[in-house]
Symmetry: C3
Subunit: 151 residues, 3 copies
């Protein structure tokens, strides 16, 4: 059995930007030389995540609108951004523009990563499926990991 | 180490139907002859997903109501369904009844699949846990994949 | 290849309590003696789940407020809790205080577990990432499973 890991860095734009990382993930799977197994694509961050869906600009705009409606950044109190109360995990860069909403969004969107079957050296993606990296916070340095386990 | 893959086709009814695929997944795990490992049950579609929860008709009705309340299909604009603007990934069958809401639902519900531990050749499901295939779009031909990795 | 499983029991408090299980998961990964692979941390329950995010009290309060706003326990009808109609999967303890909202929350939050890459015997968690066990129901006996697959 083989285990292969690849890590990629990217700088995101803020404001709920979505990056299509499918080609990079596919290249990593090919580099792994693993024929059959599982690929876990993972975001090691708490205010962004990896999701599989269609990369179509209309849908991404719709989804942005939905997220902002369910988890508004403006006009909503977040204890995570209340610097009069907050004592844990202080990160100075977060003090200018809070990111309580971004934590709530990422938790609501579910797991940090996606696991995708690999067959004959290829991700078993459906016709419209793309691997997407979602930035829920401000412009930031980010990275994602693909871990492939198989034969 | 062994890697086993099984794919199943199904035709869903539309309207947020949920299919209990637990028995089929369990059969695939037994067919794999893998004793201990991980089973990844994966939907290769962008408007449906695999989830683990209880298969109880009242709950499924409650969940349908919740999804429709959070992500309404009617009375809500979706750029994904705006054929005056849309230029990417055109799929003629989607032009009659839009599915922007179904994409938003599936992204909100999280990852495309579920990973479940396998022990002694059985899925480690809890008492009430069932593997569910959720159709979020119209009646369609679908498939799901189970990938088992282990010894 | 090795497959390692560890199961932990806990008694939760009710009311959307979150338990930080990171240290226990890390200990299990070390006990597995697996250097590189994937760890699947799984909740075998239908009204709680495992998520990765920050363990900061303000955020957890914000997220609780969000969940209660999106999926209210009070003042909302749940067919799952309608004992005049319900015929399936009857669990006497659920009849005092319904848990239809907790099922809806767990389905909305996504998959039952999280899969995290393991490298050099350590979980590939980011700076602020912690493994969290979310109780969405009343005070209950619970358990979570970590399954590690790798070399």
């Amino acid at each position: 059995m083989k285990v292969f890991q690849h890590e990629t860095r990217l700088r995101t734009a803020g404001g709920l930007t979505v990056t299509d990382i499918t080609e990079d993930v596919q290249r990593a799977v090919r580099d792994s030389a693993i024929g059959d197994g599982i690929a876990c694509i993972y975001s090691p961050h708490t205010t962004c995540c990896v999701r599989v869906n269609e990369f179509e600009s209309g849908f991404l705009q719709d989804f942005t609108n939905l997220l902002r409606r369910l988890v508004p950044a403006e006009g909503q109190y977040y204890a995570h951004d209340d610097w009069d109360l907050r004592t844990e995990n202080i990160c100075p860069e977060d003090m200018e523009v809070g990111n309580g909403h971004a934590h709530c969004m990422s938790m609501l969107l579910g797991s940090a990563g996606e696991s995708i079957p690999v067959r004959d050296g290829e991700l078993c993606l459906g016709t419209w499926q793309r691997v997407l990296f979602l930035e829920l916070d401000r412009e930031r340095e980010r990275r994602w990991i693909v871990q492939v386990v198989g034969n």
